[in-house]
């Protein structure tokens, strides 16, 4: 952090004109939306089956799980952390939930969802404990826990898959059923976002998350318990990952040891695209939704454009890097303008 401020103070003397990049920061969400619409039009021009009702519905359903996870990741990133373990948490909770329902066919799907969420919460508490009590770097703690959870998934499943015929109809239909004509996954995502909107913007604890992220020292001086906030953030992330695990298994109707491996990177990419700062302290729900939508759109559009699936990973990596660099340049522009204003 010290180096960052150093670099900025150096650039003040050089800067004489206002940065135009700063304008982007005001219209980031609008710009992202415009980009999404442009992309839709471009893809539609190449392949007319893109903007059919069916495909759009499919796309949003696919994005629902990603957006749920991105919400939790946003909270973690706001506190200057990172969570690489969510793919493994998702797999573990999905696997245990699938095993439970295949053993007890009569189990109500809501109980399965609850079970998965609780497993996720336990995983999250472990990480939160390591990060907040022992002060382990989030990247190292979650890298280790990622492998522990992944290994546990294989141990629990004994390397076996659970496929759709072993699961009861009621469980698989979580992802296919509709509430008021809208797919259940979308309804769940919307409900979670509404709760999160209230929690983040209108409760004291929600605002404290931002406080801890933007300036840990002054947050501590103002009497905010950093331990509590970190614990809370990683627990929420774990809970959402656990919930997503059940939804994932129900949607794809199979639970495997390597379910969603590497998915954490997609989630982080969605957050970064949505303008969540890796340095902590800033991030908006609207940005995260648009970021997840854009990624979901790309995943859906690339096969329609006949792009080889082997290109997807490289494209994703470039997107992350480019988005991160643009975020940094925009932030530099904002800081430079603010400093200029102060000079006059």
């Amino acid at each position: 952090m010290a180096e960052g401020t150093l670099g900025n103070s150096n650039s003040v003397q050089v800067a004489k004109k206002t940065s135009k990049l700063a304008i982007v920061s005001k219209f980031r969400e609008l710009g992202l939306l415009a980009f999404i619409i442009l992309l839709c039009v471009a893809v539609q021009a190449r392949n007319p089956s893109f903007l059919t009702m069916e495909n759009i519905n499919d796309m949003i359903t696919n994005t629902a799980i990603l957006s749920i996870l991105a919400l939790g990741m946003m909270l973690v990133l706001i506190t200057r952390g990172i969570d690489l373990s969510i793919g493994a948490t998702l797999a573990l909770s999905g696997m245990i939930a699938a095993q439970t329902v295949s053993a007890n066919q009569g189990l109500h799907p809501i109980l399965a969802i609850l079970l998965g969420t609780i497993i996720g919460i336990v995983c999250g508490i472990v990480i939160g404990f390591l990060v907040s009590k022992f002060g382990i770097l989030p990247i190292i703690a979650t890298l280790a826990m990622m492998n522990i959870f992944r290994g546990l998934t294989f141990t629990v499943s004994d390397g076996q898959w659970i496929s759709s015929y072993q699961m009861p109809e009621s469980f698989v239909s979580i992802a296919t059923s509709k509430i008021l004509g809208i797919n259940t996954l979308i309804v769940i995502a919307v409900v979670i976002y509404l709760i999160a909107f209230y929690f983040i913007n209108h409760t004291r604890t929600g605002r404290q998350i931002y406080a801890v992220g933007s300036n840990p020292d002054s947050a501590k001086v103002s009497g905010i318990s950093q331990t509590k906030i970190l614990m809370l953030v990683y627990t929420i992330m774990g809970g959402l990952a656990g919930l997503s695990g059940v939804l994932w298994v129900s949607k794809f109707a199979s639970a495997q040891g390597d379910t969603a491996s590497g998915y954490e990177l997609t989630v982080i990419a969605a957050c970064i695209l949505g303008g969540v700062s890796i340095a902590g302290g800033s991030g908006k729900l609207s940005g995260v939704i648009l970021g997840s939508l854009l990624l979901g759109l790309l995943n859906n559009a690339l096969p329609l454009l006949n792009v080889s699936p082997f290109w997807q990973m490289a494209i994703q990596g470039s997107i992350i890097l480019i988005a991160v660099i643009i975020n940094t340049l925009v932030k530099r522009g904002v800081v430079r303008n603010n400093l200029l204003r102060r000079k006059i």
Partner: protein, 346 residues
């Protein structure tokens, strides 16, 4: 007030005895001794569990198998001392080995040239990491190397899709399986690099500057340390060593795929953390990391002998990583001195 005087006295004493006295107690309280104890414990448990463990040829072959990733440990020690981290090394291994195999098999480039290009690709990957990190100081190394980790692995998939590429010339297998005077070639190379990197880190200006940067980046920059240059050199070294790993790995396996060396970053970071290199930067010794390489390597070999699944191994390495990061935070000295005091009063 009294407390303050005592502190002052202590301060005076500390400044007066500029040269540290040799203390036997301090010497034996070093992290490295603990590591050697753990290493002996691993050997003992392994020997107890499997009668096949203590077997010269077996141990020698095991060394050949786990030493490939050990090359990345050296630069990773430097990176972690700089308070950074590089999680793209596994992908760099994959990309450079895939480029090497494709050049040789599909484009007819001679193997010698392909190996040199492989090293260049690794160095280039490291250079990109380093440049991004110094040009965008607001970004942490975590996010930069996360992005390049996906990008490099993705490029490997673009080049080779999901195929394997092998058919290397006969002499190429010497890297992975060859012996020189009964000693595995890879072990010789490892020892050379170990000596080289230990001297580089502990006996040169460059090494001291790395420690200075890890302790206080701002202060070292103001004292004339070329912060950016050192960072780039260290990340290029990481890429280069990843490429060397790629050569040994491809030679040992006889072929390469885009998904080789996944999870290498976990193993390497676990080795470095177990070696006593502080994740907060500025502290650590090469020797500790070298002992840690052998602890984790023989642990994996021994567990493999008693048929422990590779997934369970992931759990064990993960737990080991967490334990080795937690122990230094537990204030062992405080617990130890309290224990000694209690004994004295009794």
């Amino acid at each position: 007030m009294e407390q303050r005087v005592v502190n002052q006295n202590e301060y005076v004493q500390r400044t007066l005895t500029n040269k540290q006295e040799f203390s036997l107690k301090k010497f034996f309280l070093q992290w490295e001794w603990l590591l050697i104890l753990v290493f002996l414990l691993v050997l003992a448990i392994n020997t107890h569990l499997s009668p096949y463990f203590l077997n010269g040829a077996g141990l020698r072959d095991a060394t050949m198998i786990f030493l490939d990733k050990a090359f990345i440990v050296f630069p990773m020690v430097m990176i972690m001392i700089l308070r950074d981290i590089d999680i793209s090394v596994g992908s760099t291994v994959a990309l450079s080995s895939v480029v090497m195999a494709t050049l040789y098999n599909n484009l007819g480039v001679p193997m010698e040239a392909a190996i040199i290009i492989c090293l260049l690709v690794g160095a280039l990957c490291g250079l990109i990491n380093g440049l991004l990190i110094i040009k965008f100081k607001e970004l942490s190394a975590v996010i930069v190397t996360l992005g390049t980790m996906i990008l490099y692995r993705g490029l490997a998939y673009v080049i080779l899709e999901d195929q394997a590429s092998g058919n290397f010339p006969e002499w190429f297998s010497f890297f992975g399986w060859g012996h020189v005077a009964g000693i595995p070639f890879i072990l010789l190379v490892f020892v050379l690099f170990a000596i080289g990197f230990t001297l580089l880190l502990h006996k040169t200006t460059f090494g001291r500057q790395i420690f200075a940067m890890g302790n206080n980046p701002t202060a070292s920059r103001f004292s004339g340390v070329q912060v950016d240059k050192i960072k780039i050199i260290v990340f290029v070294l990481a890429g280069l060593m990843a490429a060397i790993t790629a050569i040994f790995l491809a030679s040992r396996m006889g072929s390469t795929r885009p998904n080789i060396a996944t999870n290498y970053e976990l193993d390497v970071i676990a080795m470095v953390a177990l070696g006593g290199i502080s994740t907060a930067g500025g502290k650590g010794r090469m020797l500790g990391a070298i002992i840690a390489i052998f602890i984790i390597g023989y642990l994996q070999y021994g567990l493999g002998l008693i048929n422990i699944a590779s997934q369970t191994m992931l759990v064990i390495i993960g737990i080991l990583l967490i334990v080795s990061v937690v122990i230094p935070k537990l204030n062992l000295k405080g617990i130890f001195s309290r224990f000694v005091k209690k004994r004295n009063t009794n």
